[in-house]
């Protein structure tokens, strides 16, 4: 019940295209859903996050879509650039004392070809 399932494992997109990564969760106590970007040799860095009281959040080229009833959320990267090539992790956590206990998805390796 604590799992977060992420797909696809890898994704190849042409420059300028849209990258879409999907995640699904089971634990209805989760109420914060961040996406992290990780470059080789670096730690995960927060990209964008959403709470379940909104269905969409946009920051620049990055958009999270959230479907509470389906317990699914996705990351859309518009106008994908070669510099976006990285591993992307969705994550989820609940509030209270468990806030820092992020449950991560398996990760998606994104490659954007020039």
């Amino acid at each position: 019940q604590q799992q977060v399932k992420q797909s696809p494992q890898s994704l190849i997109v042409q420059k300028g295209g849209i990258s879409i990564i999907n995640c699904a969760y089971e634990n209805t106590a989760f109420d914060y859903f961040p996406w992290y970007q990780q470059f080789p040799g670096k730690g995960p860095a927060l990209l964008i996050a959403i709470r379940p009281d909104v269905s969409e959040k946009k920051e620049g080229r990055f958009t999270i879509s959230f479907n509470k009833s389906a317990k699914q959320f996705s990351l859309h990267i518009m106008d994908s650039q070669p510099g976006d090539s990285a591993t992307y992790f969705c994550a989820a956590t609940s509030g209270g004392t468990s806030y820092g206990k992020l449950t991560f998805g398996q990760g998606t390796i994104l490659t954007v070809h020039p």
Binding site: D31, Y32, P34, Y36, G41, K42, G43, P44, A45, L46, A49, R51, F89, A91, T93, G95, T97, S98, Y99, G100, K101, L102, T103, F104, G105, Q106, G107
Partner: protein, 115 residues
């Protein structure tokens, strides 16, 4: 931008040896965490720490693991008797507060190889 710093970046140790991984969280942060990532697998939560005590720990964080904040700046993870399966990247993280919406910042990791 302030960052979480970790040392060493890479350590090789013999099975059964003790290892201490060190972290300097961002200076005004109050909550501290350790995560690990076994090669090719997802990032997994180990432990959270606040006000000089463990707030929460995962099933992975058994008696061979301990954490400490020995002074006002460092946060350490000790593995008492390392096993081959402890080989992983260990990430330290910190956040200003422990409530929803507070960004959790990760360090660059310490890669531990147990031989």
């Amino acid at each position: 931008e302030p960052e979480v710093t970790q040392t060493p970046s890479h350590q090789v140790t013999q099975m059964g040896q003790e290892v201490i991984l060190r972290c300097v969280p961002i200076s005004n942060h109050l909550y501290f965490y350790w995560y690990r990532q076994i090669l090719g697998q997802k990032v997994e939560f180990l432990v959270s720490f606040y006000n000089n005590e463990i707030s929460e720990k995962s099933e992975i964080f058994d008696d061979q693991f301990s954490v400490e904040r020995p002074d006002g700046s460092n946060f350490t993870l000790k593995i008492r008797s390392t096993k081959l399966e402890d080989s992983a990247m260990y990430f330290c993280a910190s956040s200003p507060q422990g409530s929803v919406g507070n960004t959790i910042y990760f360090g660059e990791g310490s890669w531990l190889t147990v031989v």
